[in-house]
């Protein structure tokens, strides 16, 4: 019998601490598989965030640095400057990347650092127990907006404000070579996501500039749903605000 699918050798044997059905695990696999397929296993440094993926350094089978909350792009930029031919990626959640780390991601992107950033948008602060994230949808409940996110009051005063579309924002910059938003809702989309991540690493190794994959994910625990319902929510609700697609692609030839 021929093996069709098995655990990637780029992942360690450690059991992941993620909740049942949390798509952080899927995202990890896609990165791991891409690295293996591109032959980068022995040429790769990852940067873990502060967020549910804080222990990512236990799972990726390569050298890893754990960064301060939101600062992974700065850490990754510096690592890349030291090891210019090594694949460097950061892995960050929406609280980490889109809230506290907004300056760092924008500047790594505009500088055009040859790094790959995997952005897990699950519309919530997972690790700290479900507070509103910058990407929480209007109407969505979180522990710091228990009645659901409300943008403004009727008389125009700000309550929770609007969510941020990070891919669109970064696409206005000249540094990024490739930006795509994907989701992990079903096998077909998982495979698309994988393709995007792999392409991002390819661009990075070709020194085309900054690459960024926004991965829409579920957080069953803090959304108080089943894992399957969480993915349905991603598919039916999140895509309304965060449409899938390529937001920037300078092409294979460009430098």
């Amino acid at each position: 019998m021929e093996t069709v699918y098995k655990k990637s050798e780029m992942l360690t044997d450690a059991t992941m601490h993620y909740c049942p059905g949390c798509t952080h695990g899927i995202a990890h696999k896609l990165i791991a598989e891409s690295i293996v397929e591109l032959g980068l296993m022995d040429n790769c440094i990852g940067v873990a965030p502060v967020g549910c993926a804080v222990f990512a350094y236990n799972y990726f089978n390569c050298d890893m640095q754990e960064a301060a909350h939101g600062r992974a792009p700065a850490v990754a930029s510096a690592i890349k400057r030291v090891h210019k031919d090594v694949a460097v990626f950061s892995y960050q959640g929406d609280g980490d990347l889109a809230s506290i780390g907004m300056a760092e991601i924008v500047h790594a992107a505009t500088r055009g650092e040859n790094i790959t950033v995997i952005f897990i948008n699950n519309a919530i602060y997972g690790m700290t127990g479900g507070q509103m994230a910058p990407t929480t949808l209007e109407g969505q409940k979180a522990t710091t907006c228990i009645y659901g996110r409300q943008v403004r009051s009727e008389n125009g005063e700000v309550i929770n404000g609007n969510p941020v579309r990070v891919s669109e924002l970064l696409a206005t910059l000249d540094g990024p070579a490739y930006i795509e938003r994907v989701m992990l809702t079903d096998p077909a989309n998982v495979m698309k996501a994988k393709k995007a991540i792999k392409k991002a690493f390819e661009y990075q190794m070709a020194k085309k500039g900054f690459t960024f994959i926004e991965v829409m994910s579920g957080c069953p625990t803090n959304w108080y749903t089943s894992p399957v319902d969480a993915l349905n929510f991603v598919k039916t609700q999140m895509t309304k605000k965060y449409p899938l697609g390529v937001f920037k692609d300078i092409g294979v030839e460009a430098k």
């Binding site: 296993m41 022995d42 040429n43 790769c44 440094i45 940067v47 804080v54 222990f55 350094y57 089978n61 390569c62 050298d63 890893m64 640095q65 754990e66 960064a67 301060a68 600062r71 700065a74 850490v75 990754a76 930029s77 510096a78 690592i79 400057r81 030291v82 090891h83 090594v86 694949a87 460097v88 300056a103 760092e104 924008v106 500047h107 500088r111």
Partner: protein, 354 residues
Amino acid sequence: MSEKILMKGNEAIAEGAIRGGCRYFFGYPITPQNEIPEYMSWRIREVGGDYIQAESEVAAINMVYGAAGAGARVMTSSSSPGVSLKQEGISYICMAELPCVLINMTRSGPGLGGIQPSQGDYFQTVKGGGHGDYKMLTYAPSTVQEAVDILYDAFDKSDKYRVPVFILGDGLLGQIMEPVSFKPMKEMPNPSTKDFGTTGKHHGKERRIVNSLYIEPEICEPKNLQLQQKYKLLEQKEVKCEEYLCDDAEIIITGFGTVGRIIRTAIDDLRAKGVKVGMIRPITVFPFPGEVYKKYANKQSVKMFLDVELNAGQMIEDVKLNVEGKKRVEFLGKLGGYVISPEEIIEKIMEVIK
């Protein structure tokens, strides 16, 4: 030692760091240390290194974390408000035990304050500006030459103990021009080969992980105890202190950094008047030369100490902790960006000996 050349403190310090092996610099502009990043921005590429003007001090210190974790010799510099922003990053670096060199050309605070010289960040540096129990090997140079020499060896020290070396300077040290001589460039691989640095090349062998997370007390306690052990070791091995005319001194004037050079003038002038004064000048403020103070606190001939600082009284606590009430400890402070003059010290001495 080569010929002496005239150089601004900031630039000389940058060159000293380069000679000592610095190959990466991440900075953000702030007066009075701008000449350091400016000099580094072109100079470091000449020696095969790299430079980023970070988007902020927060980014800069985290870039230091990244590059140091990747095994490089790396430095950043800033001044007071910028250094405050780096406190989280510094705490991370200390927990992850990453070698690097950090500089504060202190200006007057608090807040936006002013940009003139000050020593108001002593506490921040040696007690803990960031969270948790950590220490840095902290030097407070008094002259540009001393600073350059410290920088030259700073990376070696930092690598040896895996502890940041912190240079506690001030606007005076950064802006003054003095003659200075440089030792030759240290030879080393870039990035220097360190046994903990991430390289991406370790598959198969043990992976390298740079981390400051120790979530369970079961691992966080031993980690902390190990750090404390290291700090004890620094206290045993790395104390540096200048004693000047202390042997027969009845009054010991003490101060750190640039104040030391001013005290020296005051002492010479006081001696000329027949007043028996001497100076203790900690060159390392952590580890603090407590034993030196203890020695003179126990000495019959010593009547009192006068601590002089460009702040409201910070190092004086470390002085008192070692004098332990055995002798009077007077304080002469200067706030708001004024630099104390030898005359003011002399006046204070004449007043206290009355």
